[in-house]
């Protein structure tokens, strides 16, 4: 069955990247079809956990452990998984995938319009030439076909729309964004900043740069977005539209043009290919409520389904021409799959400042940009890491770990405990061919589509880097004057940084990469991949801002080609 309407563009996925592709194409006057496998989400109305006080929930925001075990054994590993936002996580039981024997991979997924952009931690950092040039420098992975100068105008472009709060610092390896006013560091963080920056001229402790409005623009206000209210319950959804998501920002902007058709509950099975024209003709979909299959056609297809799902679609889009996966003449499709490594650092008690506290629930912490292997070669590992952290005073939950009961115990919890501070590293993972996304030969999902089979493990480079992260975190806590320092280094399950990247990497050579410098398939010029799948390396910064910038950039290129009749 074929849809009659002729669309200019089909966008697969409606999250971080898909929302941007939709907005950009629609604003350029293109008839745009957005296909989302999950259910529809309307801003505000579907934020079912929002505005709930703890006591409004019978189990105080805890998820039934039996339900977790049955339906969310993987999603419940996500730090943000709670009863009040469970509606934005996929049901693991209904959506199986496969992992290599003896290995682990936790695939955290949204299952709705807006995807994981509703659930993200909102940290937004530009990459620099240290990152885009990393593969060329040490030979791991293939060279990015772009540099910072190519992306810079697109960072500026998306930042004006998204709204990033942060402080201007002039750090070459972490270029400043176009910022709205920064959220504050607290008293203890400022104290640590002064001490550490005096000792280390290569380090800066800055406020985390997050996609929260602190001084909304006219454009943002017109979309119904407003300033952050410091509730820090973002993952439930925010009716103030204060943090950026596809549902709060890009999809409404796309919808306002009248050019967008958004179809939810529609799983894309494959990209359709015409060997005669050597172009994609559209996509085959499965309605997940009825099981009905339906083909949609368009001049151009953008895959924005998430790193793993876009790989899955490409791998499943086989034909006589592409027997090993769509646009895969290079044979690298599904390889060089990556995530960040985290869950390593240290925590300590910060003496003093007992007369200081804070007002409001801050939705970010501090950030310390990468300082290893920047201008000099440091240590016994390649690449680098950044730190995220926080200083705070513990509240009543500390009472559960202590002894005591009765009136004195109760009254002791009225005051917050002494300050603590922690540093947690986020490290770059080397691109390696043996970390792969493939399709399982026999297992299928409930739509009959082969399950993805994930195979990722850390290398010694990551392990050596983690030792340095831990040692450095301890040193800095000592230098800040902390006591009772507790290091942590739990080798994370791959996937849990939720920064999956790679598999359909960009590159200069069609023989060794899937996509060119414009996220366009080398083999099929009317198919683009603009989510994390396109990435040739991970840097150590959170990747979403770069997903957005590269998507807007790719749309600009594709639309120009279309207007010139080349696509």
């Amino acid at each position: 069955m074929t849809e009659d309407v002729q669309f200019d563009v089909i966008i697969v996925g409606s999250g971080m990247s898909g929302g941007w592709a939709a907005k950009e194409f629609c604003e350029k006057g293109m008839k745009t079809l957005v296909l989302e496998r999950g259910r529809d989400v309307e801003a505000g109305v579907d934020y079912v956990g929002e505005n709930k006080a703890p006591w409004d929930m019978e189990f105080r925001d805890r998820v039934d452990p039996k339900l977790m075990k049955n339906d969310y054994p993987i999603q419940s590993e996500c730090y943000a998984f709670r009863e009040s936002d469970r509606n934005f996580f996929i049901n693991d039981r209904e959506n199986p995938y496969s992992v290599e024997d003896g290995k682990k991979f936790s695939w955290i997924r949204g299952d709705q319009v807006g995807g994981k952009s509703i659930l993200w931690a909102r940290h937004s950092y530009r990459w620099s030439d240290l990152d885009f040039g990393a593969n060329a420098k040490d030979g791991y992975g293939t060279d990015w076909p772009i540099r910072y100068a190519d992306v810079k105008p697109w960072y500026e472009y998306v930042e004006k729309f998204v709204g990033i709060s942060g402080s201007e610092e002039g750090i070459p390896q972490l270029p400043d964004s176009i910022f709205q006013p920064a959220i504050e560091l607290n008293s203890v963080e400022l104290d640590a900043k002064a001490k550490l920056e005096a000792l280390h001229d290569d380090r800066k402790l800055i406020i985390g740069r997050i996609a929260h409005l602190t001084k909304p623009t006219e454009e943002q206000l017109k979309l119904g977005r407003g300033s952050c209210q410091f509730r820090n319950q973002c993952q439930r959804g925010c009716s103030f539209g204060a943090y950026f998501s596809a549902v709060s920002a890009t999809l409404p902007a796309a919808s306002n043009t009248g050019n967008m058709t958004l179809v939810s509950d529609t799983v894309v099975e494959r990209v359709l290919y015409d060997p005669g024209t050597k172009k994609a003709t559209g996509v085959r979909t499965i309605n997940r409520k009825t099981g009905e299959k339906k083909d949609f056609t368009a001049k151009v297809v953008f895959l924005c389904a998430s790193t793993i799902a876009s790989n899955q679609i490409l791998l499943n889009s086989t034909s006589e021409t592409f027997q090993n996966g769509f646009a895969n003449s290079s044979g690298v499709l599904g390889k060089y799959f990556m995530d960040h490594h985290h869950q390593v650092g240290a925590r300590g008690q910060y003496p003093g400042f007992m007369d200081k506290y804070y007002f409001g629930r801050r939705p970010t912490g501090f950030y310390m940009p990468r300082f290893r292997n920047v201008n000099t070669k440091d240590g016994d590992f390649l690449r680098g890491y950044g730190f995220q952290g926080e200083a705070a005073r513990p509240s009543w939950p500390r009472g559960m770990d202590q002894k005591g009961y009765g009136a004195d115990f109760k009254h002791s919890l009225r005051e917050p405990g002494g300050w603590y501070m922690y540093f947690g590293g986020f490290g770059e993972m080397l691109p390696r061919a043996e970390n792969t996304i493939t399709l399982h030969p026999n297992k299928t999902d409930s739509y009959g589509i082969p399950q993805v089979h994930l195979n990722m493990s850390w290398s010694d480079n990551e392990r050596r880097m983690r030792k340095d992260i831990q040692k450095t975190a301890i040193e800095m806590l000592e230098q800040a004057g902390c006591q009772d320092i507790q290091p942590f280094n739990k080798e994370p399950t791959p996937g849990l940084a939720i920064h999956e990247m790679g598999g359909a990497r960009m590159g200069r050579d069609p023989k060794t990469s899937v996509l060119n410098a414009h996220n366009q398939c080398h083999d099929v010029d009317n198919v683009f991949v603009t989510d994390g799948a396109a990435f040739a390396s991970t840097a150590c910064q959170n990747p979403s801002l770069t997903f957005m910038a590269l998507t807007a950039r790719a749309v600009d290129y594709a639309a120009t080609q279309m207007q010139q009749g080349k696509l």
């Binding site: 703890p54 504050e184 400022l190 200081k356 804070y358 009543w396 009765g406 109760k410």
Partner: protein, 188 residues
């Protein structure tokens, strides 16, 4: 303090207006559990509720602010045991509770609930200070955690610690005296 309070009131009013106009407040979540607290389970738990109430109030007593009992902690514990625990966990929990009466018997009292205030404190103090390998340690830590969690996530506890649904701003450098209480952060 006053400055913050004024801000809060304004924000609350603003939020109320937003809720009214968008109808957000009307969209209640469908909070689901596997196996709700059935009448059978309630019946199974009812003989122990007096004991659970007594222990709850001893852990977080009423002072110048509400205690665990008026905060609804026993009902919260009943809901957790009834709905979130498996049958095995529930049976184990109920069996473990016998330690309180056993310790009361050792003090020549018929039951924990009927013991004098002094005897109750003697028992709880012993449980609170005993080592992890001792009988009674696990149930004491378990019920104590549930009481603390249940209390500090209750509306009544917002009289004891500070809760603001919509703080409206973040100030990272405030004198503690301006706030005066610990924030009622969400538990989990």
């Amino acid at each position: 303090m006053d400055h913050h309070k004024n801000t809060i009131v304004t924000r609350r009013d603003a939020l109320r207006r937003i809720l009214k106009t968008t109808g957000v407040a009307a969209t209640l979540p469908l909070m689901s559990t596997l196996g709700a607290c059935t009448p059978e389970v309630e019946k199974q738990l009812s003989p122990y509720m007096a004991l659970i109430e007594e222990i709850s109030e001893l852990i977080i007593p009423e002072t110048d602010t509400p205690g665990a009992k008026s905060a609804g902690v026993p009902a919260y514990i009943q809901a957790v045991i009834g709905s979130h625990y498996t049958e095995t966990e529930r049976t184990r929990f109920i069996e473990s509770l016998t330690i309180f009466d056993e310790m009361a018997h050792a003090e020549n009292v018929e039951s924990f609930v009927s013991a004098s205030a002094d005897v109750k404190h003697k028992i709880l103090s012993a449980l609170d200070n005993q080592g992890p390998s001792t009988k009674g340690h696990a149930i004491w830590r378990e019920i104590r955690s549930m009481v603390i969690f249940g209390y500090y996530t209750s509306e009544a506890a917002s009289e004891d610690v500070l809760y603001e649904a919509v703080p409206g701003k973040y100030d990272g450098n405030v004198d503690f005296s301006e706030i005066g209480r610990a924030w009622m952060i969400r538990g989990i």
